[in-house]
């Protein structure tokens, strides 16, 4: 009678209940574990949330928000940053539309070119010159610098990595040995060591009138480092291509250059996308090492903000906020890459 009177709530409840019973309370020791974990999560989470909402003084973040994002970039030129954000969003929407075949599918093959062309425009907007007020690189700071360092380094290291990967598989002994030595040498060094060489040692070796910009030196260090890893990622992709592809291309009468550029590389790069994105995420976070060399990227500017007399000792708030920014960017990158993989059909040949 009772069962017949209220079956729907029972069914709803039983679904969640079933899930709970199946996954968390299926045996007595699992139930015990669940309860203990709940206790720990509650006690930790309660203190944390209490701190976040009542104790933490977020004014340090709200007053310095601009500083975190665009750093010391001149206030009256902020429109240039907004333009860049606009360009990137527009291009992303275009790419998304074309790749998911929703609209403008005919531009798909032009996308790489459009993105490549947008790069000098973005650099022009940031750096100025050619009619715009120049902004010297010591004012490129905050999240802007972090993104710039990560993206420029990964973009530059891609061609270098492809060359090294091809070089490593080359039949020419000099090229092969050079590539192997380079890759193994760089992979055997810590990134911080390479950055130290680039920031502190390099000026000692260069003649006194040659002064490389600090940002350029940082990008050089990061690019040289990530090129070695990129080479190994691409090599993984190259090795995943069946021999038959190459042989078929040869049978069609293509020469080695065409075989590599038209048949092997496009497939290899497609396979390597997940690891390349993984590397981009890694590099994005590695840029924080540059704070040690007092470059004002996101972590560096956080350290400078912590020295403002009115916000002394607000480490927890500042570092939590900076951590959030890193997480948001890394997570959205990995989301985007997952979408891209699905669209390109990586893993299903």
């Amino acid at each position: 009678m009772n069962d017949a009177n209220n079956p729907p709530p029972l069914r709803i409840r039983s679904r969640t209940l079933n899930w709970l019973l199946k996954n968390l309370f299926n045996t007595w020791y699992n139930s015990l574990l669940t309860l203990i974990c709940l206790c720990i999560i509650y006690s930790l989470g309660k203190n944390f949330l209490y701190w976040v909402f009542t104790q933490a003084q977020w004014t340090v973040v709200t007053t310095n928000l601009r500083l975190f994002l665009v750093g010391r970039y001149p206030i009256d030129l902020t429109w240039r940053i907004w333009t860049i954000v606009g360009i990137i969003i527009a291009l992303s929407i275009l790419t998304w539309g074309a790749l998911t075949k929703r609209f403008l599918t005919q531009i798909t093959s032009w996308l790489p070119l459009i993105w490549t062309l947008s790069f000098p425009i973005v650099m022009w907007l940031i750096g100025g010159g050619f009619g715009l007020t120049p902004v010297s690189s010591d004012l490129w700071t905050g999240l802007l610098l972090t993104l710039l360092l990560a993206i420029v380094s990964i973009v530059l290291s891609l061609p270098l990595g492809i060359l090294l990967a091809l070089g490593r598989q080359s039949d020419l002994p000099v090229v092969r040995i050079f590539s192997i030595i380079y890759i193994e040498l760089i992979r055997g060094l810590p990134l911080i060591g390479i950055l130290f060489m680039a920031q502190v040692m390099l000026p000692l070796f260069l003649p006194s009138d040659v002064r490389l910009d600090r940002v350029v030196r940082a990008i050089a260090g990061l690019t040289l480092f990530s090129a070695a890893y990129m080479a190994e990622n691409v090599r993984g992709g190259l090795q995943a291509i069946p021999r038959g592809q190459k042989e078929a291309a040869k049978a069609l009468g293509l020469n080695p250059v065409l075989i590599t550029s038209l048949i092997v590389l496009p497939q290899a790069l497609k396979v390597a996308i997940p690891s390349i994105v993984g590397q981009l995420i890694g590099l994005f976070k590695d840029t924080s090492l540059l704070a040690i060399f007092a470059l004002l990227e996101l972590t560096g500017i956080a350290r400078s903000i912590l020295a403002q007399p009115e916000f002394l000792g607000k480490y927890a708030e500042v570092y939590l906020f900076v951590g959030m920014i890193y997480w948001v960017f890394c997570y959205s990158m990995s989301l985007a890459s997952r979408k891209l993989e699905k669209q390109l059909g990586v893993g299903q040949r």
Binding site: D138, V200, L204, R211, L312
Partner: protein
């Protein structure tokens, strides 16, 4: 084309490169042996041609150098840089600040990457000689102190035997602590950090029983701790820490400029010249003011600057007292007492040679 033609064509560029390379090395030899500074270009010309001064600062030190919310640098060290820029360009904003950490600061000066190092650097004999720095007058007299929790009951260094002590690496603080403990035959656990802020966080979290640094820094940092009244700075002064701007050795003209810019700030306070009354005082009949402000005489010309360089400095950043009050004084969050950093006439150590 005959073979010899080809070989000549290839040899010429190689030959040219070799010539240019050897020319380069000869040039660098000259600049390295530059004991006679008049022969080489002074840094003053480099700075003037560039149109701005490059100044090495810490960027992470409250009251001395940090980035404000509007993106501008501020602090005592920063104002010294602005004063130099004002003297040269009549524009206190013609400065490019470069953050340097404790370790790379001297390399940055030696390689000429920065023109001036204004980064709370302690003047020591070793840095003056073997590190090849040339120090300007002291802009801040400090001494190393040590801070402990009140309830720990520590009263002197001996109480800290075997205890963990936090400090920043690559500083004289680290070395002084080691010296003081060795003199007393006390073992201790040094806990060193690259970043000065982390050192204080570690202390606040209880990782160390004490934290050692310059007393001014300890005072200002104590105000930032969750309960300032629970911490005390022990009376022991472990070292003298005269903080001074520095430039690379072997450029007398440039050193003189930095040196006399600092003296100008001190002399201006002694004479009572400040950013508000300086324009009015240039019309004064007092020969002391007339000479100091460059209305008569040619003191500035001798430095390679304009005669009114003192007016430019004081107009844009004020005298030493104004700079101090703006960055460290009672109206700031740091509230540092002038103490030794007062004029010699007020029981301090600041003294400027006569301007004549």
């Amino acid at each position: 084309m005959p073979k010899w033609c080809c070989s000549i064509l290839t040899t010429i560029p190689i030959f040219l490169t070799l010539i240019s390379c050897s020319g380069e090395s000869r040039k660098t030899v000259v600049s390295e042996n530059a004991s006679a500074p008049q022969q080489v270009k002074s840094r003053l010309e480099t700075v003037k041609n560039r149109g701005k001064l490059i100044c090495g600062v810490s960027g992470e030190l409250p009251g001395f150098s940090f980035v404000r919310a509007d993106g501008r640098y501020a602090g005592l060290d920063v104002d010294i840089c602005r004063a130099i820029a004002a003297a040269i360009f009549n524009n206190p904003n013609a400065v490019q600040f470069r953050n340097l950490n404790a370790k790379e600061r001297f390399t940055a000066v030696q390689t000429g990457e920065v023109d001036v190092l204004s980064r709370n650097t302690t003047w020591t004999l070793g840095r003056d000689t073997s590190v090849k720095m040339e120090f300007a007058p002291v802009i801040f007299y400090d001494g190393q102190g040590i801070m402990v929790r009140k309830n720990s009951g520590f009263k002197k260094l001996e109480d800290l035997k075997g205890k963990p002590i936090c400090t920043q690496t690559g500083t004289t603080n680290e070395q002084n602590l080691a010296d003081q403990m060795r003199r007393r035959g006390l073992p201790y656990q040094p806990v060193v950090f690259e970043d000065v802020n982390t050192a204080y966080t570690a202390y606040a979290e209880g990782r160390c029983d004490a934290v050692t640094s310059d007393r001014s820094q300890l005072l200002s940092r104590r105000t930032a701790l969750p309960k300032p009244q629970d911490h005390e700075i022990l009376s022991v002064v472990m070292s003298k820490e005269p903080l001074a701007p520095a430039v690379a050795e072997g450029d007398v003209r440039w050193v003189n400029i930095v040196r006399w810019v600092v003296y100008t700030l001190i002399e201006a306070e002694e004479l009572g010249v400040n950013s508000k009354n300086v324009t009015q005082l240039t019309r004064s009949n007092d020969p002391l003011f007339r000479r100091f402000l460059g209305v008569e005489g040619s003191l500035g010309k001798g430095l390679g600057l304009t005669n009114d360089f003192t007016v430019r400095i004081i107009k844009s950043v004020g005298n030493y007292g104004e700079i101090y009050n703006r960055n460290l004084g009672p109206n700031t969050a740091l509230k540092l007492d002038r103490g030794l950093n007062n004029l010699w006439t007020k029981k301090g150590l600041l003294f400027a040679p006569p301007f004549r």
